[in-house]
Structure formats: structure tokens, C-alpha cells
Assembly symmetry: C2
Homo-oligomer: 261 residues x 2
């Protein structure tokens, strides 16, 4: 057994911090389901960490003996050490330090599927939930514009329910995205409360990129300018906006419904 002072164990705690994740290009995941997803999608796992006393499930033991896990370094720690860095309420005794994976704009053309571009998304839970929904409709990935939250934040990873591994992630600026889109004219669909078109009464191009504004501001003029189509989601209540992940899902499912007719 190795101790809390081991640098690999110390790193796990440090990876809660965005700066540390950025500098190392790593992130930490925990739980049977998410580690299984990492193994199955071929994520690059630096090392697994297990607490044998907590890892009681047969599924967990099978996972460790799987082909994908066999060549990976496994670090055994005491239950106490594990509980010391665990983020979870019901720790399952299995975690992994994983290499982040980032895609580039030129990969958009290679995946003929729906993409979501998010301007300065702030809430990691929203980002993870959007990844999860995008996975469900067969989407390709997310393009993070400007000052966005980190998809590898523990709250985002948790909310994504594994989709952080299956969806491609691109980080860029509005300026670069606009320049790329100019040279690669894949239709961009924006949403705005003041748009004329009802999101439910238009025919969406496929593939397309759904561009969503930030939680606070929605889409700004500079974003609306690069849209090929701007739609609104009607609302008849007292509130003038929907939660970002909800609004994204409503349009994604409308697009998906049209694709699968």
C-alpha cells in the first residue's frame, strides 16, 4: 500500500484545481461507471487507483481484469487514504487519473453530425449535461468559445455521465471559430429570445452547429452575425429565459426529430 504522501496520490487532490488540470493536462474520475466508460472508449489512463476494501462489486473486479485495464498501472491504497481524496458520497474504491483529450476545428468536417458551440459557458454542471444530451442525439462534440468553464471540472464530468469521453471537445475563440466557419461553411444555428423564427417551425440543415449564448447574456451581436439561422424557443410564463442546458436540449431534440423522420 502506498501512502497519502505519494506524489501520484497527492496529484489527485490537486486535480480539483483548474490550474493544476491545465498545467498537467490530466483530470481525475471516480466511480465504476465512469472508469468503465473511460476504458471502453479508449481514453488514455495514466493510472488507476483502487481501495480493495471499498471495491466490493464483482463488476469492479471484472473491470480491472479486462483487456483494456491490463496494461495500466494500478495503485493500491488503504480505504482511509481513498476516502481522504474521494469526491463521492458513496465511494466505490475505484478512480483513475486520465489524460485530457482536445480536438481541433479541422475535425468538425470529419464528423458529419450535430455540434454545439457554447459562448463562455460558466456552469460546469450545464456543460456536462449538454455533453450528456448531445451524446443521446448522436452529436459529435462541443466547441467552447472564449472564457468557458472546464469540461474536465469534476461537476462537468459527473453531469456528463461519461459523455465527456465520447464527445469531442474543442477550445477556441469566437474570432478563430468565425474565420474557420467562413472557410468551412457549415451552417450555424443560433437561438435568441428576439428571433422571428419559431424553433419548431423551421427545417434545420444537417449537419449544423448549434450556437448557444452564455447563461448570463445569451448570444451577443458578434455571435448573431455569424449565424445562418436564428430561432427562438417560445415561452408563455413569467420568466424570459430557460436554463442553458434545457434550451440546448430542446433545440437538439427538435433537430434530432427531424433527422430521424
Amino acid at each position: 500500500m502506498i501512502s497519502t504522501n505519494n506524489p501520484r496520490i497527492k496529484l489527485i487532490r490537486k486535480l480539483r484545481d483548474r490550474k493544476e488540470r491545465q498545467q498537467t493536462g490530466l483530470f481525475y474520475i471516480e466511480g465504476l461507471r465512469i472508469v468503465a466508460e473511460a476504458l471502453q472508449t479508449g481514453a488514455q489512463i495514466e493510472y488507476l487507483v483502487i481501495a480493495p476494501g471499498l471495491l466490493s462489486s464483482p463488476f469492479g473486479k471484472q473491470l480491472l481484469q479486462s483487456e483494456a485495464a491490463r496494461s495500466i498501472l494500478v495503485i493500491e491504497v488503504s480505504d482511509e487514504t481513498f476516502l481522504g481524496f474521494s469526491n463521492k458520497d458513496g465511494p466505490q474504491g475505484l478512480g483513475a487519473v486520465v489524460k485530457q483529450k482536445w480536438a481541433t476545428l479541422d475535425q468538425i468536417r470529419k464528423r458529419s453530425a450535430t455540434w454545439v458551440a457554447l459562448d463562455a459557458v460558466q456552469d460546469p454542471g450545464n456543460l456536462g449535461t449538454i455533453l450528456r444530451t448531445l451524446d443521446s442525439v448522436g452529436g459529435a462534440g462541443v466547441i467552447l468559445l472564449d472564457q468557458a468553464t472546464d469540461p474536465y471540472d469534476p461537476s462537468s464530468v459527473r453531469a456528463s455521465m461519461g459523455a465527456v469521453f465520447s464527445q469531442l471537445l474543442i477550445k477556441t475563440s469566437l474570432q478563430e471559430f468565425a474565420a474557420w466557419n467562413h472557410a468551412n461553411p457549415i451552417p450555424v444555428v443560433g437561438t435568441s429570445g428576439t428571433a422571428q423564427l419559431d424553433y419548431h417551425q423551421v427545417k434545420y440543415p444537417f449537419p449544423s452547429i448549434l450556437l448557444m449564448g452564455s447563461e448570463r447574456q445569451g448570444l451577443l451581436d458578434q455571435h448573431l452575425k455569424i449565424c445562418d439561422m436564428i430561432v427562438k424557443i417560445p415561452m408563455i410564463g413569467r420568466s424570459d429565459s430557460l436554463n442553458l442546458a434545457i434550451a440546448t436540449a430542446i433545440v437538439l431534440y427538435e433537430m434530432f426529430n427531424q433527422q430521424r423522420v
Copy 2:
């Protein structure tokens, strides 16, 4: 100025605790927008609490002079005292202790609109987000079945963006709800991953009650038994489920789209 030891100020801190909210039937809200919503919807406000040094916005000052606020007790505290109990990152110097409002099953017949029934919803953020979405589609309210989280939890109130005031809230058991529904046959629509009907290819009755399962288990047999129609939301990704608030929103907007044709 009154001090931190004042019982009304002490109560604000205590109201973070569910037990205290249950025993007193009160909850605490903070911020200009949500307090404005409470005033505008006629919520029963026990007292307002203000920190003059933090309350710089003209909108906040107008609020306090409004007709609705005039007869309400206002407690002034120092900025320091306010920051001591504030839940917010950017405290705006205005809060309120508000009386909870609960509706009963017999009110369902009086509001010919969509209702959502939630079995044992666990996450207050999900519950608040569902209230917010329901407000947007002109829904009536939420029926909380069995061991549900508290709609007056600060995370739920925050996520609801004020809809906790405009939507009716009913707390009951599955058994009572089933008995009531038997005598008052308003159609119940359930969702399940194993249903035959595609949610997008059915015609929904109006009004109806959308019944959603908990985050962990979905709808159980005893819930499916009381449904008049069970639909599934198709998914083609790696994941076999959507976030609860997302799944609810997708069906709510489909119902809403049919209503507004």
C-alpha cells in the same frame, strides 16, 4: 441596525436546514430579482432584510417603495451582518423570509394546464429547473410524490428563477395520488426507456399530468400501472438515460408544441 444575535437574523441561517424550514413553514430568498418576483406574485413575506451599503441599485430602492412592499416589516442590518448569512457570490443587499405555500390535490382540477408529477426527486437543482421550464410552457405546478427533495431548498429556489412562486406545489404519496386520480381521471403520461411509443409520435391529451421517475430508478412498476400512456424518448448514444430535468423539458415542450399548433 440590529445585530447578528437578533432572532430574525439567526433564523435566516437556520433556514438553510430542511428541518427548520419544515418546522417553521418558512424559507429564505436573496437577490433583487427573486424578491421582486415574490412581491409581484403576492407571496406572503414575513420580513425583508436589507443592507443599505450593498443595496446600491435603483431597482432595489424602487422595489422597497413599491405598493406591495410598503406594509412589510423591513429589517436593516450592516453589510457585515448581511455578508455573514448571504448565500450569494455577489450579494445585492436584499433578502426576504417568506412563508411556504402548498397546494392540495383538489386544486389540480381547477387549473386546466399541464402538471408534472415527480417520484422521489432527489436533486433540488433538478426540481428548480423543472419548475422554471414548467413556467415557460404555461404549466400549473408540480406534484411531489413520496420522499422528494424540498422545493424551498436554496438550490431549488435559485434554479427555479422565481418559478417557485408562480407554480403550485403539492406534496403527497403515490398511494394518495393514485386514489385521487382514480376518482379524478386526468390522463397521466409516463416516460420509460422500455416504452413502445415514441414521445414525438403520439398525440397528448390536454390537460394531462406528466409523471417522471426519480434520477436513480426511473418509473417503477407501481408508477407505470397508473399511467394512461407511456412514452419513450429515443437515444442513440452510449448513454441509456437523460438528466431528469432535460427529459422532463423534452416531453413538456413536445406537449406545448402540440397545444400551440
